[in-house]
Each structure stands twice: as structure tokens, then as C-alpha cells.
């Protein structure tokens, strides 16, 4: 009659584990480490899926660029030109009643207008008479009043420019264009 071989150390350990953890361990015999193991192939698959998501997001922005461009065209009277002397400023709302905007009469005689929302975090910018620049009080962003370009602080993009047209003595806003 054959003698039954004594159980190995691993088998003894598992028998003890089975008594402790019950039947599920026998039906799901994966080691804890193996349960969380990610193979290189799985990592590559995950990376390709992430790459696809990034591509889809970029394609979505490109599609948005054509479907819903950030140009807003609507004609609106701002103010009579004589009401804003050279070096003066006039605050108004454009293109909607919730959007602040600034009309500037530059010392060289030109009229320029910009969106009043800072391109950093959309705080309202104002014209500083001393420096002649446009300032954002939230994070001390500074914009050049002649071009709308950021010259100091956290903003990286220029203020959107508002295209103007002058008919008679009246100044009209025609279109807001990001720049």
C-alpha cells in the first residue's frame, strides 16, 4: 500500500489559510501581489487609451474652433466721441449686459476698446490714470492700453479687442475679437 506523502510547507500554509479565510480563497487562488499586478502590455494599452483621449480632446477644441468661434458680432452704440476726451475712459457693457468693456481715447487721438475681463481669471480690469495702463486688481495683472497686450502679472493672453466704427459723432462697437 502506498504511503501518502506528507504535505509540503506551502500546502500546510495554504491549508491553514483556507481554514482562516474560507472557501473563497480556494476559488479565487490569486496572491495579493498578483491581484494588483499590471503587465507591460496592460500599461501600454492604458497609455494608448490615454493618448486617444488626449487626441480626442485636441480634436474637440479644433472642432469647437470652427463650430463656435469666440468672435461676437453685434452692433451697439457706446458713446458720443466728444463725451470721451483724449486720455479719457468710458466703461460700458458689450456684447451682453453681463460683459464689461472699456473704451479708451488714447493721447494720440485714437479710440480703442477692449473686453473688461482679465484673461487670467476674468476679473474686471480698470484704467489706471497714473500709468496709463489697464490693471487687474485681483492678481496685479497689467495690460498695455495701446494694444491690450499683457506686460506684467500672471495674464498670458491679450485682452480681446472690440472693433469700433465711428459714424458722425457716435462710436459703435461692432465685434469682439480675441487676439
Amino acid at each position: 500500500m502506498m504511503q501518502k506523502s506528507p504535505p509540503t510547507q506551502v500546502e500546510q500554509e495554504f491549508a491553514r489559510g483556507r481554514r482562516r479565510f474560507g472557501r473563497w480563497r480556494a476559488e479565487f487562488p490569486y496572491h495579493w501581489d498578483a491581484d494588483e499586478f499590471v503587465s507591460r502590455r496592460e500599461l501600454l494599452r492604458l497609455a494608448v487609451m490615454t493618448s486617444g483621449a488626449l487626441f480626442a480632446a485636441t480634436a474637440g477644441i479644433a472642432a469647437l474652433n470652427y463650430v463656435k468661434p469666440l468672435r461676437t458680432a453685434s452692433r451697439q452704440l457706446i458713446a458720443p466721441a466728444p463725451a470721451v476726451p483724449p486720455g479719457g475712459v468710458h466703461y460700458f457693457q458689450y456684447p451682453t449686459a453681463e460683459d464689461s468693456a472699456i473704451l479708451l481715447h488714447l493721447p494720440d487721438g485714437r479710440f480703442v476698446a477692449y473686453s473688461g475681463k482679465c484673461t487670467h481669471l476674468s476679473c474686471a480690469v480698470y484704467h489706471d490714470q497714473q500709468s496709463g495702463n489697464l490693471l487687474c486688481p485681483c492678481h496685479e495683472g497689467v495690460f498695455d492700453s495701446r494694444t491690450g497686450a499683457p506686460i506684467a502679472g500672471p495674464p498670458q493672453r491679450p485682452l480681446p479687442r472690440i472693433i469700433l466704427s465711428q459714424e458722425g459723432s457716435n462710436i459703435y462697437a461692432v465685434e469682439e475679437v480675441p487676439q
Binding site: 500554509e13 490569486y30 503587465s39 500599461l43 487626441f55 477644441i61 479644433a62 469666440l70 480675441p178
Partner: protein
């Protein structure tokens, strides 16, 4: 699984399922992974540039960025498919 003598085997361990590349190819595999992660970083950068361009009024360059991002994605798909056909290349 049953061992036939009333005892159950302990199950898989990390060593059982982990297959290391052949000697001398570890550097190649790691380089490939590093390049893949770098390309994903470039894709993320392209996404932020595209968003910045969109907020600045857009233009045709957004399409170019999308094209480059798509090429990187297609490259990843190609490598995944290549490895699917040749399972020994891991």
C-alpha cells in the same frame, strides 16, 4: 486548484505572472516605455497649446496640432497591434 491529495495550491504569485524580457532587452523595453510616456507628455502640451490658441481666436494652426496628436495616437495603436501579432515582443 486541487492537488489531488486534499490540499490546495497557494495560487499565483507576482513571480508566476511576471515575465521579464530576455537578457539585454530590458533597456530596449524601458526606452520604449519612456518614449511612449514622453510622447503622451507632448500630447498633453499640444492640448494646452490648442486651448490657448482657441481662446486667442484660433486659426488653422489648431488643426496642425490635432494632426500631430493624432499621429502620435496612431503610432501607439500601431505598436499595440504589432505586439498583438508578435506576443514574444514584450
Amino acid at each position: 486548484m486541487s492537488m489531488g491529495n486534499g490540499y490546495y495550491f497557494h495560487g499565483e504569485s507576482t513571480a508566476d505572472v511576471e515575465r521579464t524580457p530576455p537578457p539585454g532587452r530590458v533597456a530596449i523595453v524601458l526606452t520604449g516605455l519612456a518614449i511612449g510616456i514622453l510622447l503622451m507628455g507632448i500630447q498633453l502640451w499640444l492640448l494646452t497649446v490648442a486651448l490657448d490658441l482657441y481662446l486667442s481666436g484660433g486659426g488653422p494652426s489648431v488643426l496642425v496640432l490635432t494632426l500631430i496628436s493624432g499621429l502620435i495616437f496612431l503610432g501607439g495603436l500601431f505598436v499595440l497591434r504589432l505586439l498583438g501579432r508578435h506576443p514574444h515582443l514584450r
